[in-house]
């Protein structure tokens, strides 16, 4: 949040921007993804950079081990690598879990665009598998007019068999700096003061 004058970044903002390492960004993405009920925008360049750094580090550690560097130092590098890998893997897995949970909904709305290419492939395949399974095991045995996996019956006007993520759920958020008053409803009566 840029504090102070309107246009441009203040000195502190610039500094904090420079200090935000990829690990910090990855941690943030992981935290947000975990806490949000719906899937968020895929951070493709962040993931790309993290993967490259991990790759590089893996090679570096191999070199270290080969050259007989002090095992303490090697283990420290390894720990740092493990931590970063954990963040990345957990981030990707949470997203996969969300996709699995809401795959129909995701396939049918704009949320599709928040997925990476590989995730889209995964979502498509999962949906096809699930649909096939439901069709073969149950739906084909229902009377005509009730065989859709999207609608309860042909009489339904919309796809009411599609579970949606609960966007009305409550989440915890923490502000990083004083944002001031935020109105909570349309009338502007209820406000909440977010301070650092």
């Amino acid at each position: 949040m840029a504090s102070g004058s309107g246009s441009g970044l203040s000195m502190e903002d610039f500094e904090s921007l420079m200090k935000t390492s990829d690990v910090e960004l990855l941690k943030k993405a992981w935290r947000n993804e975990k806490a949000a009920p719906e899937i968020l925008q895929f951070q493709s360049s962040l993931v790309q950079r993290s993967q490259e750094q991990i790759q590089l580090m893996e090679e570096t550690i191999e070199d270290f081990t080969r050259s007989g560097l002090d095992p303490l130092i090697v283990s420290v590098y390894q720990m740092d690598l493990d931590r970063t890998q954990y963040l990345l893997r957990s981030y990707l897995r949470i997203r996969l879990q969300k996709i699995e949970k809401d795959m129909i909904h995701i396939s049918k709305t704009d949320i599709w665009n928040r997925l990476s290419q590989q995730e889209q492939k995964f979502a498509k395949k999962s949906y096809e598998n699930m649909k096939k399974y439901l069709d073969e095991s149950v739906l084909s045995k229902f009377p005509i007019g009730y065989q859709s996996n999207l609608k309860q019956s042909n009489a339904s006007e919309e796809d009411d068999m599609v579970p949606e993520p609960n966007l009305d759920t409550f989440v915890f958020c923490k502000s990083e700096s004083s944002i001031g008053s935020i109105p909570l409803d349309d009338s502007g009566d209820e406000i909440v003061d977010l301070v650092a």
């Binding site: 690990v23 580090m57 720990m79 931590r83 957990s90 409550f170 909570l184 409803d185 003061d193």
Partner: protein, 211 residues
């Protein structure tokens, strides 16, 4: 274990909270020489005997475990400072005192791995426990004020672990109220002064989205 099979993936496990806390910086005094570390998470060092350096907590614990350093307890972890905090907590039933966001996890890690570096460790430990208890009681009494008209709950200065413990309950409670609230206005007691779990009321329920 990077992905649990837990369907409720919005809940952070205690281990994950500790993981986040382990990135907090802390000062160590190495007893050996080591060159600069260029890790993915940042550059630390170089390390010289008896020269204090700042490193992330996970690194400090790793080095301590191998007997390569001693850890300097953070300033807030002194008996004087904690006694002040405890008294302030007891004196202000509506606010939480400012404490490091990860104070629970940090103190836990230090108790487990750096006992000999903490002066008066038993006193410190018992003070922190008391602080946790007092704060948690405040959270509990704040929760009692949540009603159907609650828009948002503001918990200033609550720490990471405390947030994590109450998160499932608070979320489910607020959700349940949101879903089931009654349309008639319930007479609310006068707005609480001060900053304790501040509960913002909303008016009669309006449908915000088509269901």
């Amino acid at each position: 274990m990077a992905g649990q099979s837990d369907p409720d993936f919005s809940v952070f496990s205690a281990a994950e909270m500790e993981f986040l806390a382990e990135d907090e910086m802390i000062e160590i005094v190495p007893n050996m020489r080591m060159e600069e570390l260029n890790l993915i998470s940042g550059d630390y060092g170089p390390f010289l005997p008896r020269i204090a350096t700042e490193v992330p907590l996970w690194l400090a614990v790793a080095l301590k475990k191998r007997g390569k350093c001693s850890i300097l307890p953070p300033k807030w972890m002194s008996v004087e400072r904690l006694t002040q905090v405890l008294e302030a907590e007891r004196d202000s039933p509506k606010e939480f005192q400012q404490l490091p966001f990860h104070y629970v996890e940090i103190s836990r890690l230090l108790f487990d791995h750096a006992r000999d570096d903490i002066p008066d460790i038993y006193m410190v430990r018992s003070l922190i426990e008391d602080i946790r208890n007092v704060r948690f009681h405040k959270v509990e009494s704040g929760l009692e004020t949540i009603s159907a008209r609650t828009h948002a709950v503001k918990l200033k200065n609550l720490s990471a672990m405390e947030v994590n413990i109450v998160r499932p309950f608070v979320v489910r409670t607020l959700q349940a109220f949101y879903k089931h609230d009654s349309p008639e206005l319930i007479q609310q007691p006068a707005q609480m002064s001060g900053r304790r779990p501040q509960v913002a009321d909303r008016g009669p329920r309006r449908d915000l989205r088509r269901r």
